[in-house]
Symmetry: D3
Subunit: 208 residues, 6 copies
Amino acid sequence: MILPIVFIFSLLSFSHALVQDFCVADYKGPVGPAGYSCKKPAKVTADDFAFSGLGIAGNTSNIIKAAVTPAFDAQFPGLNGLGLSAARLDLAAGGVIPLHTHPAASELLVVGLGTILAGFISSDNTVYLKTLKTGDIMVFPQGLLHFQLNKGGSPALGYVTFSSPNPGLQILDFALFKSSFPSKLIEETTFLDEAQVKKLKAVLGGSG
Amino acid sequence: MILPIVFIFSLLSFSHALVQDFCVADYKGPVGPAGYSCKKPAKVTADDFAFSGLGIAGNTSNIIKAAVTPAFDAQFPGLNGLGLSAARLDLAAGGVIPLHTHPAASELLVVGLGTILAGFISSDNTVYLKTLKTGDIMVFPQGLLHFQLNKGGSPALGYVTFSSPNPGLQILDFALFKSSFPSKLIEETTFLDEAQVKKLKAVLGGSG
Amino acid sequence: MILPIVFIFSLLSFSHALVQDFCVADYKGPVGPAGYSCKKPAKVTADDFAFSGLGIAGNTSNIIKAAVTPAFDAQFPGLNGLGLSAARLDLAAGGVIPLHTHPAASELLVVGLGTILAGFISSDNTVYLKTLKTGDIMVFPQGLLHFQLNKGGSPALGYVTFSSPNPGLQILDFALFKSSFPSKLIEETTFLDEAQVKKLKAVLGGSG
Amino acid sequence: MILPIVFIFSLLSFSHALVQDFCVADYKGPVGPAGYSCKKPAKVTADDFAFSGLGIAGNTSNIIKAAVTPAFDAQFPGLNGLGLSAARLDLAAGGVIPLHTHPAASELLVVGLGTILAGFISSDNTVYLKTLKTGDIMVFPQGLLHFQLNKGGSPALGYVTFSSPNPGLQILDFALFKSSFPSKLIEETTFLDEAQVKKLKAVLGGSG
Amino acid sequence: MILPIVFIFSLLSFSHALVQDFCVADYKGPVGPAGYSCKKPAKVTADDFAFSGLGIAGNTSNIIKAAVTPAFDAQFPGLNGLGLSAARLDLAAGGVIPLHTHPAASELLVVGLGTILAGFISSDNTVYLKTLKTGDIMVFPQGLLHFQLNKGGSPALGYVTFSSPNPGLQILDFALFKSSFPSKLIEETTFLDEAQVKKLKAVLGGSG
Amino acid sequence: MILPIVFIFSLLSFSHALVQDFCVADYKGPVGPAGYSCKKPAKVTADDFAFSGLGIAGNTSNIIKAAVTPAFDAQFPGLNGLGLSAARLDLAAGGVIPLHTHPAASELLVVGLGTILAGFISSDNTVYLKTLKTGDIMVFPQGLLHFQLNKGGSPALGYVTFSSPNPGLQILDFALFKSSFPSKLIEETTFLDEAQVKKLKAVLGGSG
């Protein structure tokens, strides 16, 4: 079949007016409930869809012996509006990602290296625990308290992805003890002892 | 304008094949990610869309001096698939709904009676606190830790509604201390002291 | 377990870049299909999440002996993007919220005081009627014609919530008789008599 | 490039376990909030995705001189779960699709033949009217009252599509006057005169 | 029942603050993941909801003997945010809409005139083919490869609607041979022969 | 604060009636548009939320020198209804995942090992290409043609996640040449030469 040159032009006007298949974040524009404004398509490049920040190990020389490196829509513009995001977990031996939730997303963990003990707790107070090896995956349903812990003797690496470009992250200890949540209110709403609250606030720098 | 009898029949066949505008829960059928199976429309009555359980005060003769009475899709079949649900909060003087999250919904509180101190904590550890009077409302964004506390000298009543027929409810203390979450793991993932964990487990009946 | 000061800093950079868990309406920014633009997190306060307008009884000294006070996202900025909204209904004895629909949301009514006769009509022309007492709740599936009527001898109070921050409200009589809908077209599309149309237009101030 | 036979087998196991890209309605299975159960893929044929019912003109020998032929998920199994549906409108000269709403969908009308006067009313009681010719299209936002009227001297044909496989259809006159909605309640909630209500109930066969 | 003038004013303040039921595209404002910014309601007219571009036959004097005229949200502002869009297909005798996908929507085809052979292929490589006559409809599930072909001896006309205001359109031949996709990469990722790739690139104007 | 035993019982009835936070697939129940039926909560275990299949390298001894191992909801029951899924990509030196689409999801690739050249094509025929190293990530917007190619001299490993538990997978070559798509129709809808079509059909085992 011979296709003459005329075909080239025939649908040009058609394609021309189409809007984009994606919405790369323009961090200077307004933000709405569905995410960031879209960069103009003509300014979008392949670099907007790739992110190299997860290739660098996080610094685990800290008390939790762990680091979390996010690639949410705030860091990775190509994710905006696409329904997923990612983060890298580095866990030195004995390292832990403390109990936390993602208010707006389910999470899927892929163990890239090492052995990770992970778990979550459901609304009916059932605890689901699994020891995961390299290549294993685990899913944490949206909004539930969960953690990851390196029980092995060597570093562990995890990649987590989320069902939202902006999953949020609420670390329990930070919410309670690194915030301005008044100690009296913490005690009244958690039944923790005053001494316990004050001790952790001192460590984490909370006020109130 | 005179409308003859023939009009009565003209669109009958049209309406006849339509499926329903709602999906009242059939608790005997299978459940899916979007909710319960639908009751056959012919069996649905007005009673399926009303619920009288929130008209009865919950029993606050307990340690938290509070009670929560849910009207989620598991209790109120008419809500199934409709995107909202409700609960009644009864708070005696000094009563508290302890720190908790709803993994799958935002919450809107209407204070029906009394004075309620309510608050939530966001992902960046900011604490938002408000003292609410009768008729005031407050919204708690999805998945974030929040609480309600009756600081007044008389009983308070609240009606809460949720942006999902099945919002879930994770009470922090119950997840930690009323579950089988191993004490050692709690300590490692929350930095709480062993004594604190054991004390609250003893009270709440947790194991592990 | 002793947590040294270093822990304070270890995850600071992590939390820092996170975007917000909510999108408080910035009424000066552009509006999109998903709602208002988000206020910058640094400018958000607890007041954005609370609304006291529903604590004040609406004025029922009118012909319908009723008043509706909305707390939609246009009035209550904290609701923006969160999937729910509210309104207060005041019904004097004999008061009525006339037949209406919410084009974009299901509704849940909590009777705060008094006795309310409520009902809705489905696509197959079935009428669902219930007499509700204080504390009773009823759900009205999205987009269907419904009403609330105070059949009791004393005032009634209702709180309604919606499965959208912007549910819309189309009052049948207003759409027909308080608009510029040409009388001839009303008659042709509703089969109402000319006299009836003109009478109600005169009362409600419709034109056309 | 030469591709040996081995390639044929290499990904067979991969494709094999995939579930379907669609969910053709199995009318015998349970229904849920998201639609009908899915037919097993092996039983699905091309016929499930096509529907010839809209090729036949509806009978307009009735008082509205019009007919509506639906292709919703209840009639057209391939639409189930796919987010759209259709209907055919036949309007003889002077025919009308009376004022109605679709509780769960926006509508897009394509005029296939003739001239149609169409309109809708918004929540703020603004009336949007357009006279449409063959090939013109018009969109009716979700849940709002609208109508179509053939003002021309010859038959008109319209194809309407909806943003849901199950848009619902509430015809105002049928909801009021062809149902069991008690006349007294109609009068109280619409301010229509008793005589008007009784007259239309007599014609349309309503009770109550 | 007599409705005094006071009724006119009683709910005015109520309606006044309501936001709109729709979001007509303001092409000058920012775009977000959910679509264009909304035009201010006061500037919206009935013309925003109607579009006459589909009333004009596309030019089929080209190699595919076919034309596609889109009415997506980029062309038809009233569609913005409403969940559907449309296009007109003109197919001269022997004309074809080449194999293509809509990345973000399912499609429903109504044959307005003539006979169209249409088909799609599913993830398990099953081919679903149907010959459609005037008035027949067919649905193409989201994202799957499909085509339309006029096998009849006279022109055919189709109206297609989509389950998104911005469905996207990826024509296979254009993606491969009218783009800058390097020929070597095309061969490596499609197993097409070099000669085939170069021949079609020459015709369609691809580079790389 | 002393919490007496009575607290243990006080909210038991409350938690008891709650439905689950997740919907683990029950492969024996009916499937609906939103996914599989839910397993009864009492039968759910931690194993349902973990999957070890991605820990095993796929067999790349085939013509594409690559293997894809899916963990979609059909393989991994815990994902059902949670909005994401995963797969493992193994690419020997020179291996390729041929041009394909996921009709129902965006994709996020994490390079676990090696160097991968990846790319996608948008609706306006722009090609976005990136060479990714270990730890780099790239996002492929929903429904667009894309590929992954190991240009390095050693094996590469990738983990991909999707914004749906059932993303679908349409491999271009399989859709065209491993199906029953009639050769004549392929030629007419893709403009490929007959010889090319027949050659690839012979290799891939297509019919028609």
